[in-house]
């Protein structure tokens, strides 16, 4: 990196340094927030209020140890909210990708009446804002009995989402000769899909699964709407912020924030290549 910089003109070097500095400051602003949250979680409530920027006098681990006792929202304790988060983000993201990829594969590789219309319908649906669909969606979930229930995860199986477009584009560009070769070997349609086509789409599937999981893990708006009695951790934090009015436990709030941030950080650090290389400026590379 630095070798190539040596060959650059002075003006380019200056520009490069300036851009690097901007990105560095941007990165530091994110690290600062995480570091400040971690520091606050190790201070007492009084220390946080009286001197928010000072270092902890003594490391206050009680914010973490007392979390299960103090951090509860609408009858859901921390453990319950953690389970809800894992259930709706992991199972939900997997179901969503599993159904969407199968749906997109069928629509792109098989001709049936209305197959092209489906593409148009999905395009229109992805452009509709939640304000336009929220009321009808709530009514639908209510009628289906999916409000405030773990079965709400089935709502992820709709398949009519932005990822359909990515998968459809991917399969459109994937040659059908693979399928023909498999057919000659005696494979049926399901075997072609599961053993030939799906494995080739694995990187795309995994990167979209990760982005969906990340979005679901941090999502609180739809959980607040459809699952108020089964809050996930982000909803718990949002609600506990209100509960704080009568609890005076800012330390516990920050400890909960840290715990919620850790899985996302772990996943990003472990799979940042998948996330950043599979998703390019123009869309998903696959």
């Amino acid at each position: 990196m630095f070798k190539s910089l040596k060959r650059k003109a002075p003006a380019e070097k200056l520009l490069y340094c300036f851009v690097s500095l901007v990105f560095l400051l941007f990165a530091l602003s994110y690290i600062y927030i995480i570091a400040w949250t971690l520091m606050s979680s190790l201070k007492t409530h009084t220390e946080i209020v009286l001197d928010p920027f000072s270092l902890p006098k003594v490391l206050n681990w009680s914010s973490y140890s007392e979390l299960p006792e103090v951090f509860y929202v609408n009858n859901n304790g921390f453990g319950q909210m953690l389970f809800n988060s894992v259930w709706f983000s992991v199972v939900g993201a997997f179901l969503q990708q599993f159904v969407t990829i199968a749906f997109a594969y069928c629509c792109s590789k098989y001709k049936f009446p209305g197959s092209e219309w489906i593409y148009t319908i999905v395009l229109i649906m992805t452009t509709l804002p939640i304000y336009g669909t929220g009321g009808a969606t709530y009514r639908l979930y209510h009628e289906l009995g999916l409000i405030n229930t773990y079965a709400h995860v089935l709502a992820s199986c709709a398949g009519f989402n932005l990822h359909f477009l990515y998968y459809r584009a991917y399969f459109k560009n994937l040659s059908w000769t693979y399928a023909e070769a498999a057919m000659m070997d005696g494979a049926n349609h399901f075997q072609i899909y599961s053993k030939v086509m799906l494995p080739q789409a694995k990187p795309l599937f995994f990167s979209l699964f990760l982005t969906t999981w990340l979005a679901s893990w941090n999502n609180w708006s739809s959980v607040l709407l459809y699952l108020p009695k089964l809050p996930t951790l982000p909803v718990g934090i949002q609600q506990f912020n209100v509960e704080m009015i009568y609890k005076a436990r800012l330390d516990v709030l920050f400890a909960a924030c840290m715990i919620v941030a850790i899985p996302a950080l772990v996943m990003f650090i472990a799979f940042n290549k998948v996330l950043t290389t599979s998703v390019s400026v123009g869309g998903i590379k696959g």
């Binding site: 409530h45 103090v70 859901n76 304790g77 453990g79 009695k229 209100v242 009568y246 850790i262």
Partner: protein
């Protein structure tokens, strides 16, 4: 190298996450506060606002009730956010709640009348609940149609909470009896280097102090039956003249103008949250804060509250306008001292009697003035109407919910509540005995004395309020007067005159075009 570093960091964070998960999944009953015995019987589902008094009292009452009534199975859900508790209220097809213990005003169409509970005498009681209730509260709780739809189940008394250590160090031995004297105390504290007052976001609990000032100046009858009924002296209701009249609100503003100033109020009070400012107050950042009986329970995590005490809301000095024989603040303070001594049992009213009138030293105080000052002094700020119990009309277990309420308001239930919260509801015990305060903190005992002293509780007008107050009207037409008095921003700072003008302008603008139209 970089790759290895990332791997190690990921492993470290994953370990932390696992440890955190195990911490979260560990024991501790607090994780799920719902009581559920999973036994056969009639289910009663309660939705409760987890306010400053917490929900421990409810857990204890439920335990007592289920012991006495094993045929019922009580569960509850709670939140500190009133909107969350009330989110499903009125949605009969999805709301399974049988009993609400929350803040709601005038939602009569979804409330079951509770008259039968008031008329009933609970097991072990000697009087009906109606006979036990504080008369002022009950009068305020009755709706226009004569029914009682909701009853208090929380709240408490309020007063000026002060730091005894700071007062002692500043040499203040006489607690302020009038608003003028309160200003003098602020001055003394300030000269001693202490910030006299604090509040939270745009005034905090000063709303309750204003109610007291209004009732002190205009009298509790006018306040309840005219101002909050929006009824003029000719009987016209609603009447715009009532809202634009220069009444106790104006004189409250004049008093605030003296002591709610940037010099006397802790910096940041206008923007800091309830929890932040109370934490600062408990850590000696200001000497006084208008607050309630629940303060010590609410902030119990922050340790002892022994250095705090509560004083009765000072009397509005402007009430002198209403008196013929008390013309200066010094004399008003003397009369208040005499009234206090009578309340505390140190003196008898007859000690001051002088024919039809009364006498302090050589000064004669007319009977009317004496009674006016006594009523003003014994007007106590409260918010008992701020948390109420009611049964939704669509409840599947109305009888069960009412049976639970009967127990909750029985002597046994009231004692459980008072022992847990350290502050009784405004309901006497049927046996005539007083609540056992021996285990109360000094702070809780002072609030109990306030409640006993109270002749007038202006907060309890809730059901006397005219519907216009639910249609947009309010005491000060939403003008943030406390915020305006102590802001350091010169552009937003107002005098009492300017604030009052703004109030009147807003009433003139909104009365016909919005409020009258919005009345349901």
């Amino acid at each position: 190298m970089m790759k290895k570093g990332k791997k190690y960091l990921a492993i470290l964070l994953a370990t932390a996450m696992t440890a955190a998960c195990l911490t979260g999944c560990g024991g501790g009953e607090g994780g799920n506060k719902k009581t559920s015995s999973n036994k056969a019987g009639v289910d009663i589902e309660i939705a409760v606002w987890n306010s400053g008094i917490g929900i421990e009292w409810l857990e204890n009452v439920i335990a007592g009730f289920e012991k006495k009534h094993p045929e019922y199975n009580v569960t509850f859900s709670d939140s500190s956010n009133i909107k969350t508790v009330n989110a499903s209220l009125g949605m009969a097809d999805i709301d399974t709640t049988d009993l609400y213990l929350t803040y709601v005003s005038r939602e009569y169409e979804v409330m079951e009348p509770l008259d039968d509970i008031l008329d009933a005498t609970a097991d072990g009681d000697q009087k009906s609940l109606k006979e036990k209730f504080n008369a002022t509260y009950l009068a305020g709780a009755q709706s226009e149609d004569g029914h009682y739809y909701s009853l208090t189940c929380g709240g408490g008394t309020l007063g000026m909470v002060y730091n005894t250590k700071m007062f002692e160090e500043a040499g203040i031995t006489q607690l302020p009896r009038t608003t003028d004297e309160l200003t003098l105390v602020c001055d003394t504290l300030k000269s001693y280097g202490v910030t006299p007052l604090c509040h939270f976001v745009q005034g905090g609990y000063y709303t309750y102090m204003t109610q007291v000032f209004m009732a002190q100046y205009d009298g509790i009858d006018y306040y309840t039956n005219n101002f909050y009924s929006c009824k003029d002296e000719a009987g016209k209701s609603p009447s715009k003249d009532v809202l634009t009249k220069k009444d106790g609100r104006y004189y409250a503003l004049k008093a605030y103008e003296q002591f709610i100033t940037p010099e006397y109020v802790l910096a940041g009070s206008n923007s800091k949250s309830h929890t932040e400012i109370q934490t600062e107050f408990l850590n000696d950042k200001a000497a006084m804060m208008f607050n309630g009986s629940w303060l010590s329970y609410e902030m119990r995590n922050l340790g002892s509250s022994d250095k705090f005490a509560v004083m009765q809301t000072p009397v509005l000095s402007s009430i002198k306008d209403k008196l013929s024989t008390v013309n200066d603040d010094k004399l008003l303070r003397k009369v208040i001292t005499a009234v206090d001594q009578i309340s505390e049992g140190k003196k008898q009213l007859s000690d001051y009697a002088s024919g039809e009138d009364y006498k302090i030293g050589d000064t004669v105080i007319s009977k009317a003035d004496w009674e006016y000052v006594t009523a003003a002094r014994n007007t106590v700020a409260s918010n008992f109407a701020g948390q109420v119990s009611f049964v939704p009309t669509y409840s599947n277990s109305k009888e069960g919910a009412k049976e639970f309420l009967k127990y909750m308001y029985s002597d046994e239930g009231l004692k459980i509540y008072a022992d847990t919260v350290q502050n009784p509801m405004p309901i006497a015990l049927s046996t005539g005995e007083t609540y056992d305060t021996s285990k109360y903190s000094a702070y809780a005992k002072q609030h109990f004395s306030l409640l006993e002293q109270a002749e007038n509780l202006p907060d309890m007008h809730m059901n006397k309020r005219h519907a216009i107050f639910n249609a947009g009207a309010s005491d000060f037409a939403e003008v943030e007067y406390i915020f305006s008095f102590c802001t350091n921003n010169a552009g937003e700072q107002m005098t009492a005159e300017q604030a009052w003008k703004l109030v009147i302008d807003k009433i003139n603008d909104d009365y016909e075009t919005n409020w009258l139209k919005n009345i349901k």
